[in-house]
Every structure is written in C-alpha cells, then in structure tokens.
Symmetry: C2
Subunit: 347 residues, 2 copies
C-alpha cells in the first residue's frame, strides 16, 4: 500500500480521458459521436409528463419494464437482458465478471481506448490484437484472453468486420465475447442472433448514438441468462435511475424516429465521405455515424489544431496506429458543409 | 473458469437483495427508508424546465458544477468532492480503489448488509467487527482491514456512534475510513470535518433519504484529493447523467426545504418511538429516519408477516444478530398512526 493508501494498480494508472465537452458556444462539435438530431418525440413527451414527487422512491433495481421491452425488440427473454447506466457500465462489469484475477482481456488495436483502462483497473492481463495495415480483420482466436471486446462496427475506424469471420471466431473462442454494437443502427447488419444462440456471446447496445440520448446514460446487453445473471449480481443495486428508465422506455416504444434519424445521418455520411475522397483524403468505409480519415495533404495533428482554431472540434488519438488519422462525427448537413469547407483550406 | 465462464468468486456469491418495491397500490411502505415528503420545490421546477433536446449530448463526466456547489456547502475544494450514481457507487469504488487484492475490508455487524457483498465481489477479505450486546460501539482498530466502512449513524440500528470514539479510531486506523453519513441530516452532528482534515477519511452523503431523491441516484464523497482522484480514475466515464446533475444541483441550491422535512420526520420519529416504548417494545435511540425495534410480545418474523398482511411493509433481516428486530422507516404521521395501531394488535 502506498502512502496515500490507494491500491497500487490504481495508483499507477492514468484514467480514461473522454472526448472534450467544450463550454464555449458555437463550436461545431464533431468529436464524441453525438447525434445532431433530437431524441424521439416520445422522449420529450415522457419528460414533460414526469413528476418530481415519485423521485422520493427508489427505482426498480432491475429495470424490469425496460428488460421486457428490449426482450420484445430482439426476440429474447427478459432474463437475457441487462440494463445499465450506459454501455460503459456493461464493459466494466464484463472485466469484473468474466476474467479471473490472473486472466486477461483482449481487444483490437485500434479500437475503443477504454478497454485497456478497464484491464488496468482490474489488474488483469492485456491481450491487444493488431488489426491489419488497412485496419482490417485479423482472427484474435489465439490471443489467450478469457474475454474479448469486439466493437462491431469498430471504433475509431468505422469499419464493419466481415460477418463470417466474426461468426467463426465466436464459435471457437473459449471465453466470453462482448460484441459492442454501439454503432449498429448505422450499419447494414447486426450479430444480435449470436447473443441469443451462443452460450458465451453478449451483444451490447447503447441509446447514446442512434437514439440521441448520450446525456441519459442507458445501455443494455443481450446474451445467455447465466452471464446476464452474473452481471446482475455485481452491479450497483440501483444502477439506473427512475427518469432514465422512464425516458428510455419511451425511446424504445417506437424505433421509427430513431431509424429515420439514422438514415439521414447515413446519407450525410456517405455524401461527406465522397467529398473527402474527391479532395484526396483517405476514408475508411464507415458503417457508423463517424468517418475515420487521413487528411489529403497535411499531418493529422496539424489539421486537428487548425480545425479547432476555426471552431470545428474533431477527435485525434495520439497513438502509433492512429496518429495519422482523424475521427469525425457525422453531424447535420450544415455542420458537415462547414467541415468540408474548412478541410479544403487546412486539410 | 467454470463452464459458464463466470469468475469463480462471482459465481459462488449471492447478490445483494434490495428491499422490496411492492407493485400493489395502497401499501404503507416503511421498508427502504424513503422520505414521505416530496423533494424541494426547486427540483420540481428544474424538472419542468428540462428539455429532451440537450440529452443528445454527453453529460459533464466529472459533474463539475455539482462538485463546486457541494464544496461550497462543506467548505471544501472541488477536488475534494466526488459525485456518484448513488452513494452505493462510492462504496463499491472504495473496495476497488483502497484495498489490495490480498487485503481486507471491515465493517460493523450489524450494519449495511451491502458491505460483505462488495467484499465478495472483489474477492477481498472480510473483517466484520461485532457491535456490543446493545449494538453499541466497539473499537475496530485491530480488525486488520485496509478499508473500514463506518455507517454513522448506523443502519439498521439507527444509533449514532460516540463522537470521541470515532475520532480516536480515525486518528489511529492505518487504512481508509469511509464514514457513510447517509442518515446524518436526521442526526444532531456530522463528522464532515474529519474528511477535510485527515489524509485517509472520506465522508459519503446521499440525496436519497433527507432530500427525498432515492429515485434520482445521487451520492457524493468528500475527502482528501488523492483518494478522490483515485475514485475518479476508476469510475465509469459518464457516471451521472444530465438530468440527475441538473436536478441534484437544484436540490442542493437551498437546503431549507430538506431541513424542514428532516425536522418533521425527527418529530414523528420521536413520537413514534415513545409510543412503541409505551407498549413495551424495545427501541434503539435513533439518529436516523427509521426505528430499530424489538416487538413487545411476539417474535419479529411473525410481526413482520402480520404487518405485511395488513398492508404495512417494514424490514426484517434474518441474521443471528438482527432476527429479533424490525427496521421501520419513519413515514408521514398518518402512516405511523396506522403502524402503531397495527402494532397494538400484532406486536
């Protein structure tokens, strides 16, 4: 124990650094994959109908009504559903529930930069698996982890992994596979069926991106009941508050508005990608609400800084595999026109 | 790894069982220490003023404005404040941040029954320390833990530990002391000053009880900046959602309504305690919003069941030290009159 009485593994690590939430007004915010459109009208109606008085009572600790609705959406049973305070809670619980203390977790490099932080917190081994030179799939079967975090479509690259390769990996991997489908509503297909048929695949979803509810904190996992039950045992007792349960239920009552927004974003994304390619940028094929681009002329850190100076905030990850690239959230059409105009000058 | 691929410690344990949240209407709910009065008018006003559109953006990951207000209330710096998704999150983070894997956590028996569950989840040692025969203070100094959970006033007994004894313990205990002051707004004094002067004492608070906001999920810890920083590193990135941050800020903007409700509850508590003692019950001296009682004539489990049959829900903990007692939340006066009338029949 060090002088401050902090566990050594925690004392030694750095925390995860979330994308900047700028306080100055007028910033074109394309850095944290938020949705430019408001949440479904049913969410606003539920908020208008909410009363403070019921907040004196604890929420349902297991979010039963939400579990039922999510089960209905995916053709699952309620005991195959876990509702969380954002899908980040699911990712953290997986490291705590499915890896022995001398075990390891795996993930692709590059992928969601939270994964190594979760492994550090738990003091478990890290088994990063390099994607190919074009960020393409590499089979992580022999990585030696008992938990593999598989973001699909991947972030920050935006690429959807090849379906048959993922299925073959999941069929043979001896540990738990957490398929993080945070961006799947912008993609042509989901692997949710694996969560309902395998005894070791979980699929995580979030309302943060496609449902325009990053501020609400609601994620869920679907998968085998024993794995769901293990997460239930170790979560905080009342992990999802009353208002969040109510508003999430409203958001999931009718998927139409979310799907319409997602379709608009996909159209904007594809138009933006084509324009970037026309100016010479490299653009990874995206199945998400963001683009992973290599600027046509100048180094990514300089482009990042020049865009920032013009009030356009994108994301740069300063690591060997990612330092030459920028991740750009797909905003509204007007935002992307501002971004494209700026790129013509500073890209 | 067992066949279901769940970490052995998690597979072997039972989860925490929160108090029942009955779905049938008309139940007099005196089982989970909820406040019978609505939250402060400022909370309702903040809720009416909330709009769904901003929920598309992530919340402030560190709840900075709340930290500032809480710091102001307690005469602390903002870096001495940690804001959490309920104080349960703080309790769990303490077990993860301040105990090595081969270390142990301690607590009093009886006290909050979540503590052993948190130790089981982390696979750390358990160092329960028996309170005296009248549930009175015993010095836990030699318990061998590197983290001690000290609920003060204690639950489920309601008793405030003697101030000088707690101060002497905190001055000498070599590990971290988490003083859980969940019920302190119903007590004559707080030990918050220890959190501001010691390098190893944290004080946790919650808005669930005195602020009538159990459904909101907002707790906070005050203490030495290095300990607060360690919890910051390992929490979920966006642990408190936007609406919760806004409504909690409203609740903390003016403590007057909360204090008025607490005073009403204290008056009801003392009247109820006197009536119970008059009918021969043993009643622990309570500094909380609940009473810990031994029924005058019949065994506690039978009284619990008979009250339940009459639509009055209290709490019974079926463990050796607690099996003869009932924990009864102090509700509104009318609820307590119903409870007292029933006790005259079945107690």
């Amino acid at each position: 124990m060090n002088p401050h009485r902090i566990r050594r593994a925690v004392d030694a690590m750095s925390g995860y650094v979330p994308g900047e939430q700028p306080s100055e007004p007028g910033v074109v915010k394309l850095n944290t994959n938020e949705n430019p459109y408001p949440p479904a009208p049913a969410v606003a109606a539920a908020l208008r109908g909410a009363t403070a008085d019921v907040l004196r009572l604890y929420p349902d600790p297991v979010s039963a009504r939400l579990c039922e609705r999510i089960a209905e959406i995916h053709g699952a049973r309620p005991d195959q559903v876990f509702v969380a305070n954002g899908s980040d809670e699911i990712l953290a619980l997986c490291a705590r529930a499915f890896v022995e203390r001398d075990g390891a977790a795996g993930w692709f490099e590059p992928s969601y930069s939270l994964y190594p932080v979760l492994a550090q917190i738990e003091g478990i081994g890290c088994r990063p698996v390099d994607l190919g030179p074009e960020f393409e799939w590499r089979d992580p079967l022999g990585c030696g982890a008992s938990l593999f975090y598989l973001t699909n479509p991947n972030a920050p690259t935006g690429m959807l992994h090849p379906e048959e390769a993922v299925r073959a990996f999941c069929a043979r991997f001896p540990g738990v596979v957490l398929i993080d489908e945070a961006y799947v509503d912008f993609a042509p297909r989901s692997l949710m069926d694996l969560a309902l048929s395998s005894d070791r695949v979980l699929v995580a979803r979030t309302l943060s991106k496609s449902h325009s509810l990053a501020g609400l904190r609601l994620g869920y996992a679907v998968g085998p009941a024993p794995l769901i039950g293990a997460m239930m045992k170790i979560k905080d007792s009342y992990n999802v508050d009353r208002l969040t349960q109510e508003l999430a239920l409203a958001a999931l009552s009718d998927l139409g508005p979310m799907q319409a927004n997602a379709a608009r974003i996909v159209a904007t994304r594809d138009r933006t990608a084509a324009a970037l390619e026309a100016m010479g940028a490299r653009v990874c094929p995206s199945a998400t609400n963001f683009l992973w681009i290599r600027p046509p002329r100048r180094p990514a850190p300089e482009v990042y800084a020049d865009l920032r100076a013009r009030g356009i905030l994108v994301r740069h990850f300063d690591l060997p595999r990612t330092a030459g690239w920028l991740r750009v959230t797909v905003g509204a059409d007007a935002d992307m026109d501002l971004f494209l105009a700026a790129m013509r000058d500073v890209g």
